[in-house]
Amino acid sequence: MAEANNTENEGQSRAQRPVMKSKPRFSPIWLLPLLALAIGGWMVYDDWQNKGVHIEVIFDTAEGIEADKTLVKYRNVDVGKVSAISFTNDRDAIVVSIEIDKAMQDFLNEDTQFWVVRPRIGAEGISGLNTVLSGAYISLSPGSAAEFTTSFEGRNKPPVTSPNADGLFLTLTSDGSKPPRVGSPVTYRGFTVGRIESSEFDPESRTASYGVFIDAPYNSLITTNTFFWNSGGISVNATTEGVKVDIATIETLISGGVEFDVPEDLDLGKPVTGGKDFTLYDSRDSVDNRRKYEYLEYALLVEDSVSGLRKGAAVEYRGIRMGTVESPYLPFNQKVEGEQDITTDPRIPVIIRVEPGRMYEGDEIDIPAFESLITSSIEKGLVARLQTANILTGALKVSLDFSAEAKQGEEEKQRVESYGRYPVIPTQRSGLDNLTAKVEGILERIEKLPFEQTLANANGAIDSTGSAARSTEKSMEEFQQMARGLQPGSPIYASLQDTLQQLQDTLRSVRPLINELTNKPNALIFGSGQKADIEPKAKPAAGARGQ
């Protein structure tokens, strides 16, 4: 029992004696937080590693943009996200903070463009419909500049052309009244080769300028002699030659457009590589009419009305366009130096420009030689007339030709006069004016004729003719009466017939005597010496037979 008690006591002593073990330095329990820390650290690292580029884009409006929601896409691939939206310092614009994927960092340069893609309806069509359900997003178009930047100006509308597209960028200037829309096509002989990218109006100069992009390889068509004109809508032109209706494509009909080409009378010119400004003309015809030529100015002193003559009207030589009217009249209070004014000389001075470039091919024009040609022509009888250019509108043009006397060689050498600094081309009335003057002269002469006296004489003549007619009628009746007496069956007629018959018989009887006397003139004295007649002889009797 004691041993059992000893054992039991030892056991209890061992049980009561604490066992001393060495404590491990690192508790496994720390694995969990360490693991969490590692994961967390790795996440932070990963997040730091993949952190995008923070950029700021300034828009006019944040319509459709939400922070932490709106995506940034390039070719429908997510490349970033809007992180925050705030105002600029002056509260005039919206600053959209965007995180762009690091891999897309090289897209971020000065030329990169950002715009919001939302549903749009325009002349170019409906776009962005997919954003109705998915929500608007920001699209970008990378530029080609070298410098990296993180601050951008957002566009209100998508760019017409990609900034790194291959082609030529031009500026067109216009003071016309038909502005083409942004996005309208630029065509060359019916083919679309570019687009209008932008339009801007300058109130100071009152001109509009348009940014035009010509796609490659069509940019080689642009040369120094290229002219641009507005081809939108319908152009209707009514002249003496007829009515001309001009429509380009259906797209240009609806939304307008610009067309370009090199005029036929010019050579192609040198290719343009960029930076040149061109003028946008209102129409193809106005390219020919209004393009700038070198010119010589002359004055016409017109005696007739200049109503219908406008600035820009044509000056023609026998139908060939050779110039333009610069000023249909000088203001009456603008006295040309050395010349009389309106009170003493009622002729209206019209200033015209003779443009030799219209009649010469190529670029080399000898202006002095042309000037001396005009001067010698004036000396030989060159005159100017105002003629109708358009019957419908009554517009006038100036027509140059040699006078009728000059054509016949009767004109003496004319002295070239001058009106201030302008040489004068003599004027003559047009054919229509001449005709009008002649008709007026004839009418005046007719008016001077003594109609009343002539009518009185005519009345007297009619009266006397009436009485003469009555007496003639009476004579006719008497004649008819006499004629009735001579009709066949009347006694006189029968008597006449008998008399004629007797006359014929007498003549027949006298004829043999006349023949006899012709053959034997002395037959009257010595007798005809005729023998007795030969008489028929009888035949032996036979029966009468007949048929």
Partner: protein, 186 residues
């Protein structure tokens, strides 16, 4: 004086010479028709138009054919009256006598008509009297009219123009009877 006497003598001599010439033959005048009293005629009237003759018969001298192509005119034998008028009168007389249904007159209205054209009417030296030509007869107004030729001859029984004229008169009678027989007795 001597000259005057000489001329008177010459004239007298010439007249004597003229007196010694043979006196000319005596002229003879003939007529075709022999008017006789005609009874009042009945029947439908037919007008006989003026007879047409060739020019050589439109004169008073009697004509004789001496050969096939030669005609001689008698100087001393003449018609007393216009030959075409005489022929017409004879025809009227003889046609009326030959027809009982019709009477032939100078003129009438709304009636038939007979037209006669004479081409030959003379004696020949062969002893024949010849009458030839054509006639056309329209029985009533609007009736048909066709030209019908005729050629009649009679021998001369004696010499001379007396016999010739007598036979020529008979030829007209023959013609009248032929016209009536062919057209009016149906």
């Amino acid at each position: 004086m001597n000259m005057l006497r000489f001329m008177a003598l010459a004239l007298a001599g010439m007249m004597l010479i003229g007196c010694t010439s043979t006196p000319p033959p005596r002229p003879h005048y003939y007529v075709l028709d022999t008017p006789k009293a005609t009874p009042i005629e009945t029947g439908k009237p037919i007008a006989v138009a003026a007879v047409s003759v060739p020019d050589y018969l439109r004169q008073r001298k009697l004509v004789m054919r001496q050969s096939s192509q030669q005609i001689i005119f008698a100087n001393y034998h003449s018609w007393a009256d216009d030959l075409p008028a005489s022929i017409r009168r004879v025809l009227i007389e003889e046609l009326s006598a030959a027809s009982s249904l019709y009477r032939f007159v100078d003129s009438c209205t709304d009636c038939g008509e007979l037209q006669v054209r004479v081409d030959q009417f003379y004696p020949t030296d062969a002893g024949q009297a010849v009458l030839s030509g054509s006639y056309s007869l329209r029985m009533g107004q609007g009736g048909e009219q066709h030209a019908q030729p005729f050629y009649l001859e009679r021998p001369l029984r004696d010499d001379g123009y007396d016999e010739a004229v007598s036979q020529m008169r008979q030829l007209l009678l023959d013609l009248s009877q032929i016209i009536v027989a062919k057209n009016m007795k149906k």
